[in-house]
């Protein structure tokens, strides 16, 4: 236990408040002994479903009641969304110190604004939901992040920027485990709120999370570029640049076919690992406009295509492969269409994996509805490290198809290369959040008894701004 003086100021204020707060005192003294706070790594297996939300014990709500004056100031500010084109423009050849500091200050004010909105959302959730240990952990994390970001003063020079970047890196790293924790929390709370409300909450939170990480990672990448020995601001076009095709995290020349091929190889390899070397893995056939090139953030694209391919491969193998039959078997291939429309890039993934049952079709986009959620929760709980950190998932060093050499890890790296039998049940809704973040869309059509078609549509020009709220901006 850390000493009291080392806790953040806010917590100390709260603890002193707590002593005078009748409600919390009685809550603590009346807590039955069997549900005293237990270590976070315990699983929920031993408790009946009705007590699911109490599985880890009643967290002492010492940090729940936050001093809200600081929060109010930031909640009132609107978020200023950015477009892919703006992100690109900010970097590139024109990156000089002035621009870098502008970027730093934009991030410096955007992050606390966006986190404040999400904290406010969480504060409005039912008490019983936010006291779920996973969700309260995330809430705590957000409060601390907000607290540290709002205090950063205006950045005037590169030293300030370096300090700022250090804080950013640390926060990004600490927040890597937010997604699985949130998912577990939502699953545990699925009887406490309507599924529509839970889904809306998750979608908003995830969307905001993507947006914060994008602008943070972009700024870090720009700083790296600026410090790189090969970067010369306002240089002539002939001068070699270390990463000419990258502007921060944005890869200007994403080649659709290469991305699909890369994801295809990755998912096929993972499938062989999961089902054994004898299992037939479906071939991936690509057709369409094969020379499509467009600017995008590669990790996002690879995650989405990876999820769709993963689903298709798994469905195909499970439908057509008979492990009892020793003969070598063939399974039907997966067809991918790349279409270069005037304003969009469209990926269509068609498989013959048997389709999705009509009764399940409405649940595929939800984080909590559906019949398989108990299994999903068990899966998540059986890998305690997944709940705590993402270290356990180092299956192999796949990295990205196109990365900067100094690229840092993103929360998507681990998810993209997780083993295929780790069915988390969030692939589709997550991919949809990523797609819709840049005003794209993801749709699924099922031919029950035959296979499934997935349509991923990406806004090509990057003129569309981030979609920060569910009803646009």
């Amino acid at each position: 236990m850390s000493t009291i003086s080392s806790r953040p100021l806010l917590q100390r204020q709260l603890m002193s408040m707590r002593c005078s707060n009748r409600f919390t005192t009685t809550a603590i003294t009346n807590t039955p002994s069997i549900i005293r706070p237990i270590a976070l790594l315990n699983t929920s297996r031993h408790f009946p479903s009705s007590r699911r939300h109490l599985s880890f014990g009643q967290q002492t709500p010492n940090f729940q009641w936050q001093s809200s004056r600081a929060l109010e100031a930031w909640v009132e500010k609107p978020a200023r969304p950015v477009s892919l084109r703006q992100l690109i423009f900010f970097g590139g050849r024109h990156l000089d110190e002035r621009r870098l500091l502008d970027s730093a200050n934009y991030v410096r004010t955007e992050l606390p604004t966006r986190i404040a909105h999400r904290i406010r959302d969480m504060q409005k959730l039912p008490y019983v939901v936010v006291t779920n240990p996973h969700i309260s952990y995330v809430y705590q994390l957000y409060c601390e992040a907000f607290d540290s970001f709002r205090k950063i003063k205006e950045i005037h020079n590169q030293d300030d920027n370096d300090k700022f970047c250090a804080v950013l890196k640390q926060a990004l790293h600490r927040h890597l485990t937010v997604i699985p924790k949130l998912v577990m929390g939502v699953l545990e709370c699925r009887e406490l709120m309507s599924p529509e409300q839970l889904d809306k909450f998750m979608n908003t939170l995830l969307r905001s999370r993507i947006s914060r990480r994008v602008i943070a990672e972009q700024h870090l990448a720009l700083t790296d570029t600026f410090h790189s020995p090969f970067h010369f601001p306002d240089s002539s076009p002939e001068h070699p640049n270390a990463h000419p095709d990258f502007v921060g995290e944005v890869f200007l020349r994403c080649n659709a076919k290469e991305v699909v091929e890369y994801c295809g190889r990755l998912t096929q390899k993972l499938a062989r690992k999961a089902y054994g070397d004898n299992a037939p893995v479906p071939e991936i056939i690509i057709e369409g406009h094969l020379d499509t090139i467009f600017p995008y953030i590669p990790s996002h694209l690879e995650y989405m295509i990876g999820e769709l391919l993963r689903n298709s491969i798994q469905a195909t193998i499970e439908r057509h492969y008979n492990p009892a039959n020793p003969e070598p078997q063939q399974v039907p291939p997966i067809h991918i269409l790349i279409c270069h429309a005037p304003q969009h890039i469209i990926f269509r993934v068609s498989d013959q994996g048997g389709g999705i049952q009509n009764s399940e079709l409405e649940n595929i986009w939800s984080f909590s509805k559906g019949s398989k959620r108990d299994t999903q929760l068990q899966n998540l709980a059986m890998i305690p490290a997944l709940a705590a950190t993402m270290q356990e998932l180092e299956t192999s060093g796949f990295g990205h198809s196109v990365t900067r050499k100094d690229g840092h890890e993103s929360s998507l790296t681990r998810l993209t290369s997780r083993p295929p039998n780790l069915k988390l049940g969030i692939g589709l809704p997550m991919s949809r959040v990523y797609a819709e973040y840049w005003a794209g869309k993801l749709e699924i059509h099922s031919l029950e008894g035959y296979g499934t078609d997935a349509f991923l549509q990406i806004s090509k020009l990057g003129n569309k701004s981030e979609q920060l709220t569910l009803d646009g901006l």
Partner: protein, 447 residues
Amino acid sequence: MTRLLHQLPRELHLLRPFRPLPLRRLYTTTTTTTTNTTLPPPLAAAPIVPSPLSPKTTDAITHLSSLPHRRPTLSDLVRFGPPPLTTPQLLASARLTRELIPRRLARRILALRNLPYIIVTNPHINSIFQNYVHSFEALSSLPSGDYPRNLDEESEFAQVLGGIVRTHNNTIPILAKGFQECGSQFMRAEEITAFLERHLRARIGTRLLAEQHLALHAATFEAGSPAELTPGVNPDHFIGIIDTRLSPTTILRRSEAFVAEICELRYGDRPRLEIDGEVEGRCAYIPMHMEYIFTELLKNSFRASIESALAQQRMNAGLGIVGRAAELEIPVVKATIALAEGGKWITIRIRDRGGGISPSDLREVWNYSFTTFNQDTGEQEDFNELVNGALGGSSIAGLGYGLPLSRAYAEYFGGSMELQSAFGWGTDVYLKLKGLVEPEGGYERQI
């Protein structure tokens, strides 16, 4: 005369259609020195003078439209068993039909008479309105109570019903024409679409009930006479208008043949259709509905495929490419059939490479569009007209009713239709139909 006068609405001036002065006035050679105190000469066609419905009819309409009614399901249609029906069953079917149809007609009359006055006085729409009223009155004039009580009365009923079905054969194009003439001035596009959606969907149900009974009647008497009370064997797999061993492949090929012929007529060439998936599968559905939907979808796919091939050919010619590469290469249209849960869900995907639909058009494609008729858009409408003309009678020429109407048919029994376009490549249509599942023990007679 006086009776007529006082019954005329106050907005008398609106009775006169807006049209230019008759020619006689314009070219009159008489001098205008004499004061023109005479009334203008009668118009070329007498305006519609709407007469109100008789009080008896009005009461009946009010009463019947308030009775409960629900959408008939496929199971409802087969509850009397497979033909040939026994006499009690035939009479039961007739009685139920006689009971249900007037309610549905009453609701339609209600909806029509609530439309703006100026619209219902349009000759086309008015004729449809009169049709509904006459049909309603024809049914109301049949004896009430336990009618029909015997086979003679049942035959009489079948005749009346048959007449009604025939009368209403061409409702859709006539309604469409009427709305096209005057709708947009007095009603918003959404209101017209909403009205047409409700009306056309209700029409599907009413015709379904009528045609099912007529088909059962015909099949029963074709077998000679109603079967004796001893249970018989179902001679073939039709139960009225439902085919319990329907092969989607057969219907696809039938639609394909029809549309392809028109293609050849119009363009000199036609695309091929490949069918995969559950090619040999069978289900229980209404072949008429399925064929209508397939024809519409294949019509769109074939036309798009040819048009894009022609465009490609023109481009090649412009680039100076000659020889084999300049030949017309029409991309294949692919249909996939999937059956699930023993025929409960029939999913058909029709995939073409006709260039797709632009995002702006995609928004409009489900509207009952009534502004494209007579437009000089050339090829598209020609093709539609040819197809619909060949269908005989109900020409929905170039009115853009095909897709929304097909979707109405698909959704009637709980299915769906979705369009997915990859603009610049092609379009996929996902058609999901909810079929009839054979109950345990077969399609037995249930009374």
